[in-house]
C-alpha cells in the first residue's frame, strides 16, 4: 500500500516535472533535444526489436544491457507507463540471462574510463573477439547511430532527472544514490556523443552548460545573500505571523524603490548642479538675503528649513536657468524636468508590474467555498509560528473560527441577528463619515488660520507648526477611534483590516487634499506678490544702473551684491519646504509614538506590574499590538508626500531613504521588544496587492497636483531651473528647437497637433474598452467552467454514493491512482470494471439474490449500472471456478496492447499482478 501511494505521488510529480524545470534546462533541451525527439521513434522501435535480436546478437546486447536496465528502471520511477513496465519485464528476463556478463563488463568499463575512444576500441575489440554472427556486421553503422540517439536521449533524461531531483518525494538516501548514479551516467556518456568534429563541439557545449549551471547556482547563492534584512523579517514572521511580516516586506520593497529614485535624482540633478553649476553666493537665488543672514545659521531657523538650507541644492529655487552647465554642456533644466517625469514614470511602472506579478501568483481564488471546513482543518495552522504566545493565540483563533463556522453552519437558515448587525454596520459607517468630515473641516480651519498667522509678526512655535501638529494628532487618534467603531461591525479580521485601511486612507487623503488646497491658495497669493516684486526689481536694477553710470565712468558698473537684490517669494521652494517639513514632522511623530506608545508602555506594564493593584499585563493597559493598518498607511502616505514633493525639493528623497532605513531597524526592534502578537492572528493572504492598490491610487493622486503646477502655473521669475519661461514644459520645446535638427522639431509639432492627439486618445480608449471586454468574457467563461466543475462534482458524488457499497474494493484501488492517470486510463478502467464485476458479485452472491427477490428498487437500480443481467448469476453458480475463464480470457488482453498502461492492469487484476511479482 505504501508503495502504491508513493507511486501516485511520483506520477503527479512526473507530470509537473516539465513545468517546474528550470528555464535553463529547457533552453538546453531546445538545442539538443530536436535531434533525439525525431529519433525517439526509432529508438523505441529498436527497443521492441530487442528481444529477437538479443538471442542472436549476444555481444551487442551485452553492451547495451546496463544502460537499458538503468533506463528502464528510471522510467518506471518516473512515469510508470506501459513502456516502462514492459521494459521492466524485459529487463527482468534479460537480467537473468546476462547478469554475469554485465557484471564483468561493468568491471571492464570501470577500468578504462576514457570516453568514446576507449569505449569504441573496446567495442570493436569485443566484436572481433567474441566472433558474433557476421550477418550483423553490415548493420553496425546504422545501429551505432541508433545507439547514439538512444544514448543521447538517456543522457537527456538523466539530466532532467537531476534537475528535478529536489521535487521527488523520496527519502534523501534514495535521492542521493539516484542522483549519484545519474550523474555518473551523464559524466560517462556525455563525452561519447557526437563524432569527430561534432564531438569536440558537443563536449565544449556540455562543458559550457555545466559551467553555466555552476555559475547560476553561485549567482543564486549570492543573490539570496544579497536580500537585505531577510533574517530580521523571518524572525519577526516567526513571532508575529505573516501579517506583520508582510508590512516589513512592503517596507523593504519601498526602500528599494526609493533607492532607485534617489539614484535618479542625485545622479542626474543634484550632483551635476553641485559640481558644475555656479557656486553658492554667485547669484541672488543661491545667496541668503541680507535680512536673513544674521540668523541663517541658527538651529531654530535651520530646523524650519529656512536660512542656509532653503538656499541649498535641496530645493528647487537653488537651480539656475542656464541652459547648459559645465564642460559637459549638461542641460540641467532639461534634466530636471525629465527626472521629475521619470520619477513618476518609474514608480508607476514598478507598482503596476509588481501588482501584475502578485495577481499572477495568487492563482487560486478563495471564493470557492466548497471546502470551508477542510481548509480550516488542514491549512489554518501557520507553520511559521515559533513563539509560544503567538501559538496560544493561534490555537485560540483556530478554535474560535471553528466555532464560528459551526455556528454559521447550524444557523445558516435562521439568522435573526442580521438586522441588528446591518444596523450596527450602517451606524458605524455614519459615525466614521462624521469623523472624516470633522477632521477635514478641522484641517481646513487650521490651514486658514495659519495663513493669517503667517502674515503676523513674531508668532510662537505652536502657531507656526499648528498645521503639522493638528495633522499628526489626527493621524494618531483617528485610527484607534475607527478601530473602536469597527468593533461594532464584527467583520472577519482580514476583511476588517481592509475596511480599516480604507477608512484611514480616506482620512489621510482628505487631510492631504485639504492641505494641498490651502497650499494652492498660498501659491496663488505668492504669484500675485511676485508680480509686484518683479516690477520693483526691474526698477531697482535700472535705478542701480543709472546711478552707477552717473557716479563713475567705469566700463563695467559695480554689480549689486547678490544678497541685496530684491527677490520674489519663489513659491516652488515654499511648496518644497512645506513637504519636507511635513515629512520630517511625520517621521518624528511616528518615532515618538513608537517610543512612548509601545516601548514606555511596555516598560511600564512590565515593571510596575510587580506593585500594582491589578494585573497590568492581562488587564487594562497590557502591551501594544503591532498596528499593521496604521503603519502600512503611514508608509503609503509618506510615499505620496515624497512623490509630490520631490519635484520641488529634490533632497526629499534622500531624507526618505534615511527614514526608511532607520525605521526598518527601529520598528523591527520595537516590534520584537515591546509588542505582543495580535489577539486574532490571521494570515495576510493577498493583502499585499491591496497595499499596492493603495499605493497606486496615492501615486495617481500625487501626480495630479504636480502635473497641474507644471502645466498651468507660471514658474517664478527669479529662481529655479525654469525661471524666465512662461510654463515649465517649455523647456522641452526649447531643447527640441535648439538641439535637434529641424525636421524633428517639425515632426514634433505634427505629433503635438490636437488633430493627432485626439484620435490617439480615442484609439487608446477603444483599446482599453476592447481589452476590458475580452477580460470580462474570460471571467465569464471562467465562472461558467467553475460552475460546470461544481456540477460535475455533485454528479460524481451522487453517482458514487449510489454505488459505494457495491464495489468498495474498486474504490480502494482507484484511490491509489493519481487523478491525472485516471483520466488517461478511463476507457480501460471501464473495461476492467465490466470484466471484474462478476468477481465482485461473488461475495454478495446470496444476499444479492435475496435482495432481488425482495425487489428493493435501490439495490436493483444500483446493480443495473454495473453488473451483468441477473440471469448470469442464476445460470452460473457463484463458484471460484468463475475466476479461471475470466482471468485467462484477460490474459491476452494486455498482450494485445503491448504498450498498455500498467496501472490499469495492476488494478483490474490484483491477483495477477501479485503473481507476476
Amino acid at each position: 500500500m505504501a508503495t502504491e501511494i508513493e507511486a501516485a505521488g511520483i506520477e503527479i510529480d512526473g507530470q509537473v516535472e516539465s513545468d517546474t524545470q528550470s528555464e535553463e534546462d529547457e533552453g538546453k533541451e531546445k538545442t539538443s533535444k530536436k535531434q533525439p525527439r525525431r529519433e525517439t521513434v526509432r529508438a523505441s522501435r529498436l527497443e521492441r526489436k530487442k528481444p529477437q535480436r538479443d538471442k542472436e546478437d549476444e555481444s551487442k546486447e551485452e553492451h547495451n544491457c546496463p544502460r537499458q536496465n538503468r533506463a528502464s528502471r528510471r522510467k518506471t520511477h518516473q512515469k510508470k507507463n506501459g513502456d516502462g513496465k514492459k521494459a521492466e519485464v524485459k529487463e527482468r528476463d534479460k537480467k537473468a540471462s546476462t547478469k554475469d556478463q554485465k557484471n564483468s563488463e561493468n568491471k571492464e568499463k570501470k577500468t578504462n574510463k576514457k570516453g568514446k575512444e576507449g569505449e569504441n576500441k573496446q567495442k570493436k575489440g569485443r566484436k572481433n573477439s567474441t566472433s558474433s554472427e557476421s550477418s550483423n556486421s553490415f548493420d553496425e553503422e546504422s545501429l551505432s547511430e541508433e545507439e547514439l540517439a538512444m544514448l543521447m536521449e538517456q543522457v537527456e533524461q538523466r539530466k532532467k532527472l537531476i534537475s528535478a531531483m529536489r521535487n521527488k518525494p523520496w527519502r534523501m538516501v534514495k535521492k542521493l544514490s539516484v542522483l549519484r548514479e545519474a550523474q555518473a551516467f551523464v559524466e560517462k556518456f556525455e563525452g561519447a556523443l557526437g563524432k569527430g568534429k561534432g564531438k569536440k563541439l558537443y563536449a565544449y557545449k556540455m562543458m559550457m552548460a555545466k559551467k553555466w549551471v555552476k555559475f547560476k547556482r553561485d549567482f543564486d547563492n549570492f543573490k539570496t545573500q544579497c536580500i537585505p534584512w531577510e533574517m530580521k523579517i523571518k524572525e519577526v514572521e516567526s513571532h508575529f505571523g505573516s501579517s506583520v511580516a508582510s508590512y516589513f516586506i512592503f517596507l523593504r520593497w519601498m526602500y528599494g524603490v526609493n533607492l532607485v529614485l534617489f539614484g535618479l535624482i542625485f545622479g542626474l540633478v543634484i550632483i551635476p548642479e553641485v559640481l558644475m553649476g555656479m557656486p553658492y553666493g554667485s547669484m541672488p537665488r543661491k545667496t541668503v538675503p541680507r535680512a536673513e543672514q544674521a540668523t541663517a545659521m541658527d538651529f531654530s531657523v535651520l530646523w524650519d528649513f529656512e536660512g542656509y538650507i532653503k538656499y541649498s541644492a535641496l530645493f528647487y529655487g537653488y537651480y539656475n536657468n542656464q541652459r547648459t552647465i559645465g564642460w559637459l554642456k549638461y542641460r540641467l533644466p532639461m534634466a530636471y524636468f525629465m527626472v521629475g517625469i521619470s520619477v513618476f514614470g518609474y514608480s508607476l511602472m514598478v507598482v503596476i508590474r509588481s501588482m501584475a506579478r502578485n495577481a499572477n501568483e495568487s492563482t487560486a481564488d478563495g471564493e470557492d467555498d466548497n471546502f470551508i471546513f477542510s481548509w480550516k482543518m488542514f491549512t489554518s495552522w501557520d507553520y511559521l509560528i515559533g513563539n509560544p504566545e503567538t501559538a496560544d493565540n493561534k490555537f485560540a483563533s483556530i478554535t474560535t473560527s471553528f466555532k464560528e463556522s459551526i455556528v454559521d453552519e447550524q444557523e445558516s437558515n435562521k439568522d435573526e441577528n442580521i438586522h441588528l448587525r446591518r444596523f450596527l454596520r450602517v451606524l458605524a459607517n455614519i459615525l466614521i463619515i462624521c469623523c472624516l468630515c470633522g477632521s477635514g473641516y478641522l484641517i481646513y480651519f487650521v490651514v486658514k488660520r495659519s495663513q493669517t498667522f503667517s502674515k503676523m509678526q513674531n508668532v510662537g512655535w505652536y502657531e507656526r507648526n499648528e498645521v503639522e501638529i493638528v495633522m499628526s494628532l489626527l493621524g494618531m487618534f483617528c485610527p484607534p477611534l475607527f478601530e473602536t467603531i469597527a468593533a461594532l461591525e464584527n467583520y472577519h479580521p482580514r476583511i476588517g483590516l481592509k475596511w480599516q485601511l480604507g477608512r484611514i486612507f480616506a482620512l489621510f487623503l482628505g487631510n492631504l487634499y485639504t492641505f494641498l488646497l490651502a497650499l494652492m491658495d498660498d501659491v496663488n497669493e505668492k504669484l500675485d506678490e511676485e508680480d509686484v516684486v518683479k516690477n520693483i526689481t526691474r526698477w531697482m536694477l535700472l535705478g542701480h544702473h543709472n546711478s552707477s553710470m552717473g557716479n563713475s565712468s567705469a566700463d563695467t558698473p559695480p554689480s549689486l551684491d547678490p544678497a541685496d537684490v530684491p527677490r520674489g517669494p519663489c513659491w516652488e521652494t515654499t511648496v518644497g519646504i512645506e513637504f519636507v517639513r511635513l515629512t520630517v514632522s511625520d517621521i518624528l511623530v511616528t518615532y515618538v509614538t513608537i517610543l512612548v506608545g509601545d516601548f514606555i508602555r511596555a516598560c511600564f506594564v512590565r515593571f510596575v506590574n510587580y506593585c500594582w493593584c491589578w494585573d497590568l499585563e492581562a488587564g487594562f493597559p497590557s502591551y501594544a499590538e503591532f498596528d499593521i493598518s496604521g503603519n502600512v498607511l503611514g508608509l503609503v502616505f509618506n510615499q505620496g508626500m515624497i512623490w509630490m514633493g520631490s519635484f520641488y525639493a529634490p533632497g526629499l528623497v534622500g531624507i526618505n531613504v534615511l527614514r526608511l532605513l532607520t525605521s526598518m531597524y527601529f520598528q523591527c526592534w520595537a516590534v520584537m521588544s515591546s509588542n505582543v502578537p495580535h489577539e486574532r492572528v490571521f494570515k495576510a493572504s493577498k493583502s499585499n496587492n491591496f497595499y499596492m492598490g493603495l499605493l497606486l491610487l496615492i501615486l495617481f493622486l500625487s501626480l495630479l497636483p504636480v502635473a497641474y503646477t507644471i502645466m498651468s502655473l507660471p514658474p517664478s521669475f527669479d529662481c529655479g531651473p525654469f525661471s524666465g519661461k512662461k510654463r515649465m514644459y517649455e523647456v522641452i520645446q526649447e531643447t527640441i528647437e535648439l538641439d535637434f535638427p529641424l525636421f524633428i522639431a517639425k515632426i514634433f509639432s505634427y505629433v503635438a497637433n490636437p488633430g493627432l492627439i485626439i484620435p490617439a486618445i480615442l484609439l487608446m480608449v477603444l483599446a482599453i474598452y476592447y481589452l476590458n471586454a475580452v477580460s470580462e468574457a474570460y471571467q465569464r467563461a471562467n465562472a461558467e467552467l467553475k460552475k460546470k466543475m461544481q456540477m460535475q462534482r455533485e454528479e460524481d458524488k451522487n453517482k458514487r454514493n449510489n454505488k459505494t457499497n457495491n464495489n468498495s474494493m474498486m474504490q480502494d484501488l482507484e484511490d491509489l491512482l493519481a487523478p491525472s492517470t485516471k483520466i488517461e486510463i478511463y476507457p480501460k478502467q471501464a473495461e476492467g470494471k465490466k470484466i471484474e464485476s462478476p468477481d465482485q458479485v461473488i461475495p454478495f452472491g446470496k444476499q444479492g439474490k435475496a435482495e432481488v427477490l425482495n425487489g428493493s428498487p435501490m439495490s436493483g437500480g444500483r446493480r443495473a449500472v454495473l453488473i451483468p443481467p441477473p440471469h448470469l448469476l442464476v445460470t452460473r453458480p457463484p463458484t471460484p471456478g468463475i475466476w479461471a475463464p475470466y482471468s485467462y480470457a484477460d490474459k491476452p488482453w494486455p498482450g494485445a496492447h503491448p504498450l498498455g498502461l500498467v496501472p490499469g492492469r495492476g488494478r483490474g487484476h490484483p491477483c495477477y499482478s501479485h503473481a507476476a511479482r
Binding site: V16, R166, S238, W375, M377, W381, G386, P388, F395, A818
Partner: protein, 181 residues
C-alpha cells in the same frame, strides 16, 4: 562563501543542493543546527557519511517545531524508520520540504503523510479527530468534533468511501488559498 569548511566535501554539498531547495550556506547552517542539538553525538565531519540519528525528543524541541501541534507527526513522517529518529539526511529532507521554495505538489504529498496519523494511507475519521484536537487543544465538544469531521468528509470526499484518499486530499488542498500562501 569561500570559507574553507571540512564538514562536507564539495561533491556532497553539490549533491545536497541538487536534492534540496537549499543553497550551500543554508546546508552548512542546517548542519550547524543539527550539530548543536547534540554536540557530542553529531560529528563535525560528515565526509564519510556517519550513521548518526537523533531521537525525536531532541528534534521537536527545536524552536521551529516546538509550537507546532503536529510536530511529532512531522518528524515521524520524515524519519526513515518511522519511529521519529532523524538522520542528517532526513533532517535536511524535512527542512527542504518545509521550506518555502518547495512546490505545492511536494508539500501536498507530505502534508497527506503528516495528517495520516495511523499511516493507513487514508485520512479517516480518527485521523481527522486527532488533527482537530491538536489544532484546537481539545477545546471543542465531542458533538462539535463529530460535526466538523463529518463536514470535512462530506466536502472533500469525492468517491464517497467515507475517508480521504490522496486524490481527494490533493484536490482539496490544491484549491486552498492559504496552502502555501
Amino acid at each position: 562563501m569561500g570559507n574553507k569548511q571540512t564538514i562536507f566535501t564539495d561533491e556532497q554539498l553539490d549533491a545536497y543542493q541538487d536534492c534540496t531547495f537549499f543553497t550551500r550556506k543554508e546546508i552548512l547552517r542546517l548542519h550547524g543546527r543539527y550539530h548543536e542539538m547534540a554536540p557530542n553525538v553529531v560529528p563535525m565531519d560528515y565526509t564519510k557519511d556517519p550513521d548518526v540519528k537523533l531521537p525525536m525528543q531532541l528534534i521537536i524541541n527545536m524552536p521551529e517545531l516546538k509550537e507546532n501541534p503536529f510536530k511529532e507527526r512531522i518528524v515521524e513522517s520524515f524519519s526513515e524508520d518511522g519511529e521519529g529518529s532523524l538522520s542528517f539526511n532526513d533532517f535536511v529532507d524535512m527542512f527542504s520540504v518545509l521550506s518555502e521554495m518547495a512546490p505545492r505538489e511536494l508539500k501536498a504529498i507530505y502534508a497527506f503523510k503528516i495528517y495520516d496519523f495511523n499511516t493507513d494511507n487514508f485520512i479517516c475519521k480518527a485521523d481527522l479527530e486527532k488533527t482537530l484536537n491538536k489544532l484546537t487543544r481539545e477545546e471543542l465538544t465531542a458533538e462539535e468534533i463529530t460535526l466538523v469531521c463529518e463536514k470535512v468528509i462530506e466536502e472533500a470526499d469525492m468517491d464517497g468511501d467515507g475517508k480521504l484518499g490522496f486524490a481527494d486530499f490533493e484536490n482539496m488542498i490544491s484549491k486552498a488559498p492559504d496552502f502555501l500562501r
